[in-house]
Amino acid sequence: MIRIITVYGPMLLIALGRTLLLALLGLFFACIIGMIFGIMGVVKNRACNVISQIFVDVIRGVPLIVLAFFIYFGIPYLFNTIIGGFAMNLTALQAGTACLALNCGAYMAEIIRAGIQSVDPGQMEAARSLGLTYGQAMRRVVLPQAIRTMIPTFINQFIITLKDTSILSVIGFPELVNTAKNVQANTFMSFQTWAIVGIMYLIVITILSRSAKVVERRLSVGR
């Protein structure tokens, strides 16, 4: 155990850094995707609603690992071989980010849609009755209330996405799990290696969920 920490500790810490980088990149784009498709899910436009629903259904209906293989191997193959004439190559980080952004984005879209719909329609009506536009009413009245109810679910989704980065070890991105596999192969100390990796995830996620509690408490002031 001590030997693994002293010899492989720095390597594992760097890998943890990559895990966090991948998670943050994925979450950043997931927020954008989630916002766009979430809003498209509530506006009074049938086409937007349908597009949003199809996106969510497709992404939710495909396992993350399949999505990862599809984006990392399938998409370049489509451009390079099936269509031809493109020299397209995705790095594991690019493919991993896209994969997490799409996957988490679909769940975020659902959280945002549900959050907005959980706000009493009377709030929108009252704002519109004063002459505010749909956009103004959304921005000033509905979204601020929706976000409060969304926060706990958001944090939960962040944690799931952070853990999902481990699945992207299958496309060769040297994040924590992938690196740990190498450590295990070199040392044959399976128990110690995976115990250490488990504890590393546990610490990061505990910190995340604790700080989430603080944010939640702050936001509930004045309610």
Partner: protein, 247 residues
């Protein structure tokens, strides 16, 4: 007595359906400047739907609605502009829960650039004083009683300086002891000459304050006239039945 006055709201052959369900079948009426019109009727008669059509919270299926000379069913009419002149008060108050009372009152005037921030705040404070809640500016809606919330809702609508006020059962969600304070604010408003359309179950208020009462049932106006005519001497059997049940 109001015949020679300016027509603020003119409704002709208004119809409204939800799918196969026709809620408003054929409604025509005019509301003049300074008139207080009360709409009474059993639940499901379409009176709230009618009121909500007047500021296009519900889109009428057919007919015409002219507010201050503008046809609001016309596509090119900017409904947001029309709504700035029509205040609405809801049964469930619908105060903005994320904003304190002062911000509830100033949000729309500031967003719509009706006036500067300072003017909006000054007017909001004046309106709060007027409804007797000057000390609640920094409170949040969740900290107020139902009656206080509804008075704030009226003040919020008045901050846009509307010339028409719509009330959708403003006292129906209130505890009995709070009804009086809200009705008093509405009476004051009527006395100042505000044009008001009030959907209500408060027969005492309707009798005392309104210039005209409409009794609706099944999507039609069954009977209309002065309070003395409709409440004191109803002619239609459905009006008589309804009044026997509620009075």
């Amino acid at each position: 007595m109001v015949d020679n006055k300016e027509v603020k709201i003119s409704v002709k052959n208004l119809k409204k359906s939800y799918g196969d369900l026709q809620v408003l079948k054929d409604i025509s009426t005019d509301v003049h400047k300074g008139e207080v019109l009360c709409i009474i009727g059993p639940s499901g008669s379409g009176k709230s739907t009618f009121l909500r059509c007047l500021n296009k919270l519900e889109k009428a299926s057919a007919g015409s609605i002219i507010i201050n000379g503008q046809d609001i069913l016309e596509k090119k009419t900017n409904i947001n502009k029309v709504r700035e002149d029509i205040g609405m008060v809801f049964q469930h108050f619908n105060l903005f829960n994320n904003l304190n009372i002062l911000d509830n009152l100033t949000l729309a005037p500031i967003q719509l650039k009706k006036c500067s921030k300072e003017e909006a705040v000054a007017r909001a404070k004046k309106m709060l004083d007027r409804v007797g809640l000057g000390d609640k500016a920094a409170s949040y809606p969740s900290q107020l009683s139902g009656g206080q919330k509804q008075r704030v809702a009226i003040a919020r609508a008045l901050c846009m300086e509307p010339d028409i006020m719509l009330f959708d059962e403003p006292t129906s969600a209130l505890d009995p002891e709070m009804v009086g304070e809200v009705l008093q604010v509405m009476k004051d408003l009527a006395a100042e000459g505000m044009t008001m359309v009030v959907v209500t179950h408060e027969m005492g208020f309707a009798r005392e304050v309104s210039d005209r009462i409409i009794f609706m049932d099944g999507g039609y106006i069954i009977e209309e006239g002065t309070p003395a005519e409709v409440l004191g001497n109803p002619k239609e059997s459905r009006t008589i039945d309804f009044l026997n049940k509620v009075l």
